[in-house]
Homo-oligomer: 330 residues x 2
DNA sequence: TTGTACGCGTTATCAT
DNA sequence: ATGATAACGCGTACAA
């Protein structure tokens, strides 16, 4: 592949002039500049990124490490991040940690080694990752969940309040035995949603009971098992609060298998307003998270940090919106 | 951030020894090696990627440029690619071209500049991209669609056959006026699906008619408009073949708006077996693409190319599977 | 086995 | 305005 000195030779100038011409630096003689551009074009010259990054000690690349590329919530975040990053001249690379602490650590490691300008992360809770980040000065923004044992710029959702609202909504609709599938313990969004669920039960003066809670991974399969185990009880729940849209798929499949119709037979609220939720009969009541905005805000926070490294970290908490549909109407 | 010479100084050895010890090269005195490792750990040393890549003239990073991160089909491809890449010691970075030729070109440019080991791409059809790739030796694998005007390793699906089968299925189920929403013209998958649809009509001895075809982007909104425009006709179709799952959402919403029940009132087949398609009532008949496998095969093709650069490019064509469900049962 | 020294391709500094 | 050259951090050929 052609290098800068190939271009220089062809254009009959020095490498310094090529660099200046191609980067629009200083004042370069228009004629020379034209020669350089022509030569670069002819050779298909493309600056060597590693060399440039090495020399400049910086890159225009941001890394976003999300826990599930197949979850529309996270891909919507990615869109938000990308739009903002792109507008500011940064490229975004996406990595999928699959909610596995090891993979997360690995990708953070790669990002750090490649000296990306900044990292956006929806942490699994791996303290190794935190430690890794602590030892470096690369700016980090946590999205959706905070970093464990570390302050950083953070974009969160008020999960607790959202879960409480959803639970209260179910109670107001007359459901009395409300179950909850909050997701895995140890992940803050899951724990918060569980706490909010309990708040809601308390406010509604409904009896809380751990027998109505089943924890699992944020996957369809886990949710299927949890739902099945709840509904097979002698005293099954008459409503379910489900922690995300991937789990919702599992739950709804289980309900269908059991011949239970959402709304009439069992109230259902799930987090995330996926496009398909309106297609169901009845359509699904959801807690809509402003995923795109969360991504956009996170990216902006990171960009701000890059230009003003001194400032103290901030946490922005966005609000969800309950979208009431048929699955909570008897 | 600590450099290799910082480590060398702390361990009381030369940088060469540090390099050798950390990379497990040659034979290094165990005691020295231990000192090096300890020093590296103490300093939180992390090799400088750009410097290493510059020196080695290679990276262990693959780039996957897909046209829609919010489409489960492409994210499933990404999973397939990632699993294979990861197992071979490569990291994967994901870029979202949003089916915009300019963005695609830009990301290819970035990937080339960063000297990634290889590129996987679901091309928009941008010939600028092809030209860019042609001028470089970086291995490329096209996924889902071929590169325009260029041979390369390619992983395709037999879209034409799949569309024909789907159309024939509709015909056998008694639908007579079958419409088609194949996606944008100029994108091969769309054109092939349209061709297969016409094949199917011919085989079934049904009259083909361009008035039953509406082209749009691979988006829900485009599909909504297309569906509406078809169904508002005095002689509307009694069945629809829809080119992907994102468009299917738009179509199904439109049917619901019009009070049309899939299966009974109008047959519906869509490409892509998204998780939610079984939740509908009636569940959706789909053309299931082996997306994960397509990604895995593509990654393997790329890895093979990296180890054996000389070989002629190959094209692998996988087959789709028609999954019959209620939306094609009257 | 270990250390010295060079070069990867680029940008920035310093003369000219 | 332009050119020569040093330096970024690393790996490796060569010398010891």
């Amino acid at each position: 592949m052609a290098t800068i000195s190939d271009v220089a030779t062809l254009a009959g100038v020095s490498t310094a002039t090529v660099s200046r011409a191609l980067n629009g630096k200083a004042t370069v003689d228009p004629e020379l500049s034209a020669r350089v551009v022509a030569a670069a074009e002819e050779l298909g010259y493309r600056p060597n990124g590693p060399a440039r990054n090495l020399r400049k000690q910086e890159t225009a690349v941001l890394a976003l490490i999300i826990s599930d590329v197949e979850n529309p919530f996270f891909t919507a975040i990615a869109r938000g991040v990308e739009d903002v990053a792109h507008a500011a001249g940064y490229s975004l690379v996406l990595c999928n940690s699959d909610d596995e602490p090891d993979k997360e650590r690995e990708y953070v490691d790669v990002a750090l080694q490649e000296r990306v300008a900044g990292v956006l992360l929806s942490p699994t809770g791996n303290t190794d990752t935190t430690e890794l980040l602590d030892r470096n000065t690369t700016p980090v923004v946590a999205v959706d969940r905070p970093l464990p044992e570390r302050t950083s710029d953070t974009v969160l959702l008020d999960n607790r309040l959202a879960a409480e609202e959803a639970t209260l909504h179910l109670a107001r609709r007359g459901y009395r035995r409300i179950g909850c599938l909050p997701g895995p313990s140890g992940i803050l969004t899951a724990d918060e949603r569980l706490a909010g669920y309990r708040d809601g039960l308390r406010s509604a003066e409904l009896p809380g009971s751990t027998t109505l809670v089943r924890r699992s991974r944020f996957k369809a399969e886990g949710a299927r098992q949890s739902a099945r185990s709840l509904l097979d009880r002698p005293d099954p729940p008459d409503a379910l609060l489900v922690a995300n849209n991937v789990m919702a798929v599992g739950v709804l499949q289980t309900l269908a298998d059991l011949g239970l119709r959402p709304g009439r037979d069992i109230g259902v609220v799930a987090f995330d307003d996926a496009p398909w939720t309106t297609l169901l009969d009845p359509p699904l009541t959801v807690v809509a998270q402003p995923a795109y905005d969360m991504g956009a805000v996170a990216a902006q926070l990171l960009l701000d940090r890059l230009t003003a490294p001194g400032e103290p970290p901030t946490t922005q908490t966005l609000s969800a919106k309950l979208v009431v549909r048929g699955s909570t109407t008897r």
